[in-house]
Each structure stands twice: as structure tokens, then as C-alpha cells.
């Protein structure tokens, strides 16, 4: 089991979602985050105040999957989120120690397998 964390551009989030559904990855959560990854800062001006915006809005996907789904999930994130310019984001894959489905108490493989699959 792995936790796949993908940090992508907000405007690419829908493309990633589409790809995840296509790859039959049914369970994930997303959150809005801000971060910095080596992009040029954008300059904004509010009345007389000029600022460099050091943080860019991103969407963070967290997908807990069993081994056979790790690569399809990574592919879905990469293909959905890529524009080819700096700022497309990162994917982190980390091992999972335990997973529990709260409703049933199922653990591990059973817990990351979608209901009805």
C-alpha cells in the first residue's frame, strides 16, 4: 500500500480527476494548498503597494492505493497535470503502515479497495 501525494496546478485538477476516474481510482481527497517550487515570483500591485507573490496556489491530491494501483495513479496525475512549464507540481509516493475503514473496521487492502470493486 502506498500513499500517493500529488501537488498540481488548480486549473489542472479537473483533468487529474478525469484521469483518476478513468484509471478506476475511486478513493482520494484533495485540498487547496499554497507552495513554492522554484517558479518565478509573480508581481502584483495593490494601490501603491507592490508585492512579489512567493506562494502559488496548488491543489494537493492524496490517494491511498494498493500496489497494483500505484503506477496508474502516478500516470493519471502526471498526464493530467502536465503543461511542460515550471510549476506543474510534484508527486510523492510514501509507504503506508496501516489503513482502516471507519465504517466497517476493515483494514489495509480491504480498506483501500473501493466498495463494490
Amino acid at each position: 500500500m502506498k500513499l500517493v501525494i500529488g501537488i498540481v496546478r488548480p486549473d489542472k485538477a479537473n483533468d487529474v480527476l478525469e484521469n483518476l476516474y478513468r484509471a478506476e481510482v475511486r478513493g482520494f481527497s484533495i485540498s487547496r494548498v499554497q507552495g513554492h517550487g522554484g517558479e518565478l515570483d509573480r508581481v502584483e500591485t495593490y494601490r501603491g503597494t507592490t508585492v512579489k507573490m512567493g506562494l502559488a496556489d496548488k491543489v494537493r491530491f492524496e490517494v491511498a492505493v494498493s500496489e497494483p494501483f500505484v503506477q496508474p495513479t502516478i500516470d493519471a496525475l502526471c498526464e493530467g497535470a502536465r503543461t511542460g512549464e515550471v510549476g506543474d507540481g510534484k508527486i510523492f509516493v510514501v509507504p503506508l503502515e496501516r489503513v482502516v475503514r471507519i465504517r466497517t473496521g476493515e483494514t489495509d487492502h480491504g480498506a483501500v479497495t473501493p466498495v463494490g470493486a
Binding site: 486549473d11 515570483d41 508581481v43
Partner: protein, 436 residues
């Protein structure tokens, strides 16, 4: 402009009329920022400011073009198609009453200016979220003169529609049909947003939409109530109808929403308010309050149908200016042809009261206006498109027009923002999303 018979007494400025028209003008001016709020709520968060700024642009550009040449082309003596240059730079527009009214000529001019501004802002609804700001400014300038001033001349300034007996109380021709069918042309030339039809593009703040619609309705009491240029009967009638008609549209819209989806929607209600106000705009001072209520109910139907069907097409007329303004304005213009009542308006009867010719005059306006607005808008945008790109690139569209076009965000948190000292100056770094 109607010519008074020789024997009529020379019109004097009436203080009561002038007081009301000063207030009415301010009410109409409020409608443009109200429209900005309404439109801003309907777009995605990343395009909020750009959308609002298009309405602010109308306040800037259309005011100037109107004072320089628009007012003259609309309201000075000319031919049947377009006015002359007598009032260029407001030449000869001062405190004497405008012929046929009892208010100062200057006040008449500024009241009409507020209409031109609002109409330019209305058209922006077709092209938000992708059209570049610079070309829009150019479009606003050309459109306010070549389309709005001409249509205003036709309907109000002594042009051929007015001479032909077409009744248009407060702007069904130049404002509503003019903006609606121009919006359709603009959407076709600028083309759809890159995500249109692929992703759900949802309103980001429905409260803005409702508040904007409410403020528009409030301003519309000046828009319609002022279009009698007096405190007389026609103004009172139009003012009253401006409450009755949208209320009936709302009721019918609730029903249509309920029948279609078992729920009454808030964004739908805001839309219904606009549709009702638009419907009564041409008819306000010409039909009885009872018929105004019927108009409100009827006007909901075609506009609702267009709003439901339009997103199934490839035409990304983004904020449905055609449905809310073009179609509802056309409904109102035609409605006058049936239900105008001499005993209420003192001008003419409609078909229902034995004057079938009135319906003919109304139908003529309902055909000629959309054709003119559509064709000229199409040409204006094509010509601007030859000089400069009309729309932002796909990448810029993805980042959002606020950051790309204005260097600001509507909902900036300030987290991670580093103050750039004024002495250091701003390095000309391009935003990451736009590294040309």
C-alpha cells in the same frame, strides 16, 4: 425627437421633473457597478476582478465617447439612420430645456449617457473569462458609437423606427435587443472559453449574483421611471410596472425551476429579476399594470428556454446576455404591439384595442434591431481582431484573467507576499504562467 407644433408654448424647465431626473440618473449609474457585481459572481474566482473591470471600463470609455460624439450622433438632427454632429463635445447642450421635455438639455444628455454606459457593460457578459482587456476597451469605444448611438437614434432620437411609430419606452431597442444580439455576435467572434463544454464552469459567488440583481432592480426604477422625463403619468406607470413585472417573472421562474428540477434556484431567481426588468423596459409607460403582470409571466418562458438550451450548443455566450436581454427585450417590444392601451399611455393602442398597425411597427423593430446589432458587432470585433489578438492564450486563461490582465487577485490572502520596496523598483519578471 418630436417637433412641437408652432403654437405650443415654449417649454420651461420644471423643477419637480428636474429633481426626479437628477435622482433617476444617479439610480441608472448605480446599475453599472451592480451589473459588475452580478457578472463577477457568475464567473470563476480567478476572473472576478477582470469581469467587474469590464463594467468599470464601460463607465470610463462610454462616458467619454458619449460626450465627444455619441450623444450628437444619437440625439442631434440628422437623417433617419443617424444623427448629426451639432452636439459634438456637448456643443449647445446647456440649461435650456431639451426640445419636447421640461428638463435641462444637460440633464437629458447625462441621463442618456447612463444608458449607453450600462449597455456597453452588458455586452461584456458574452466575452468574460477570455477576452483581453485592451481590445475590450477599443471594442467599448467603437461599439458605443457605431451600435449604441445609432440604435438610440433609431428609437429615441428621431430616427426611422421612431418616425415609423415604434413604441419603446426605456430602451428595448438600443439597450436590451442591442446588447443581447451584439452579445451573440461577440461570443461567436471571440469564441468559447477553452474549458467550455469540457468542464463545469460554475458561478463562484451566488450571493454577489443575488445582490447584484437586487441593486440592478433598484436602479431600474430610475431607468424606467425616468424614461418619461418627468414626474407625469407615464413615469409613475413605468415605475409601478417595474415592480409588478419582475415579481411575476420571479413567480413563473420559481415554477419553471420547480417543474424542471424539483428545486427553486437562487441564481435562477437573480436571472428572473433581470428578465422581468428587461421585459418591462420597452413597455413600461405603454401598458396597464394588469397587462404588465401578464408580460412578466410570459417573458419568463422564452428566456428560460434559451437559458436551458444555449449551454447545449457550442456558443459560449457566457453570461446569457442574449437570453436575459435580447430575448426578453424582444418579448417586451412585441408585447406592446398587442397590449398597448391609449387610455393608459395617451399615445397609441395595440392590436387588442383595435390598432393592428402598432404590432407591425413593433415587429419591424424586433427584426431590424437584432440584425443591425449582430452584423455591426461582428464586423467591429473582426476588425479589432485583425489588429490585435482578441483573447488571452490558453495558459493565461488557465491562470485567470485577474492575475494576467490586472496583476491583482480578488481574494489575495497576502500569505507569502513579499513587499517590494519602492526604491528597488519592480523587476520586469514575467509571471511564471506566462514566461514568454
Amino acid at each position: 425627437m418630436t417637433h412641437l407644433p408652432d403654437l405650443a408654448p415654449i417649454a420651461q424647465v420644471d423643477t419637480g421633473d428636474t429633481a426626479w431626473m437628477l435622482a433617476a440618473t444617479a439610480l441608472v449609474i448605480l446599475m453599472t457597478p451592480a451589473l459588475g457585481l452580478f457578472y463577477a459572481g457568475l464567473v470563476r474566482a480567478k476572473n472576478t476582478l477582470n469581469t467587474f473591470m469590464m463594467c468599470a471600463a464601460a463607465l470610463a470609455v462610454a462616458t467619454v465617447t458619449w460626450a465627444v460624439v455619441g450623444y450628437s450622433l444619437a440625439f442631434s438632427e440628422g437623417n433617419a439612420i443617424i444623427g448629426g454632429f451639432d452636439h459634438v463635445l456637448l456643443n449647445g447642450v446647456a440649461f435650456e430645456p431639451r426640445e419636447g421635455t421640461t428638463i435641462p438639455h444637460l440633464l437629458f444628455m447625462v441621463f442618456q449617457a447612463s444608458f449607453c454606459i450600462l449597455t456597453v457593460a452588458l455586452v461584456s457578459g458574452a466575452v468574460v473569462e477570455r477576452m483581453r482587456f485592451g481590445p475590450f476597451l477599443l471594442f467599448a469605444a467603437l461599439w458605443s458609437v457605431l451600435v449604441y448611438a445609432v440604435l438610440a437614434h433609431w428609437a429615441f432620437g428621431g430616427g426611422w423606427l421612431q418616425a415609423n411609430g415604434t413604441l419603446d419606452f426605456a430602451g428595448g431597442v438600443p439597450v436590451e435587443m442591442g446588447s443581447g444580439f451584439s452579445a451573440l455576435a461577440a461570443a461567436l467572434v471571440v469564441r468559447s472559453r477553452k474549458d467550455y463544454g469540457r468542464q463545469a464552469l460554475l458561478p463562484h459567488n451566488a450571493v454577489f449574483v443575488l445582490l447584484g440583481a437586487g441593486l440592478l432592480w433598484f436602479g431600474w426604477f430610475g431607468f424606467n421611471g425616468g424614461s418619461g422625463f418627468s414626474t407625469g403619468n407615464s413615469s409613475v406607470l413605468a415605475f409601478t410596472n417595474t415592480l409588478l413585472t419582475p415579481a411575476c417573472t420571479l413567480v413563473v421562474w420559481f415554477l419553471l425551476d420547480f417543474l424542471r428540477g424539483r428545486r427553486v434556484t437562487a441564481v435562477g431567481a437573480a436571472t428572473a429579476i433581470i428578465v422581468g426588468c428587461v421585459g418591462i423596459t420597452p413597455a413600461g409607460g405603454f401598458i396597464s399594470p394588469t397587462w404588465a403582470m401578464l408580460l412578466g409571466a410570459l417573458a419568463a418562458l422564452p428566456s428560460y428556454a434559451v437559458i436551458v438550451l444555449r449551454p447545449r450548443t457550442r456558443v459560449d455566450e457566457t453570461l446569457d446576455v442574449l437570453a436575459a436581454h435580447g430575448v426578453a427585450g424582444l418579448t417586451g417590444i412585441l408585447f406592446i404591439g398587442f397590449f398597448a392601451q391609449l387610455s393608459w399611455n395617451g399615445v397609441a393602442d395595440g392590436l387588442l384595442y383595435g390598432n393592428a398597425a402598432q404590432l407591425g411597427s413593433q415587429a419591424l423593430a424586433a427584426v431590424a434591431t437584432p440584425v443591425y446589432a449582430f452584423v455591426v458587432t461582428f464586423v467591429i470585433l473582426r476588425v479589432i481582431g485583425l489588429v490585435t489578438p482578441l483573447r488571452a492564450t490558453e495558459r493565461e486563461e488557465a491562470v485567470g484573467m485577474d492575475i494576467i490582465q490586472h496583476g491583482e487577485e480578488a481574494y489575495a490572502t497576502g500569505e507569502g507576499a513579499i513587499l517590494v520596496s519602492p526604491e528597488a523598483g519592480v523587476e520586469a519578471e514575467r509571471p511564471v504562467a506566462n514566461p514568454v
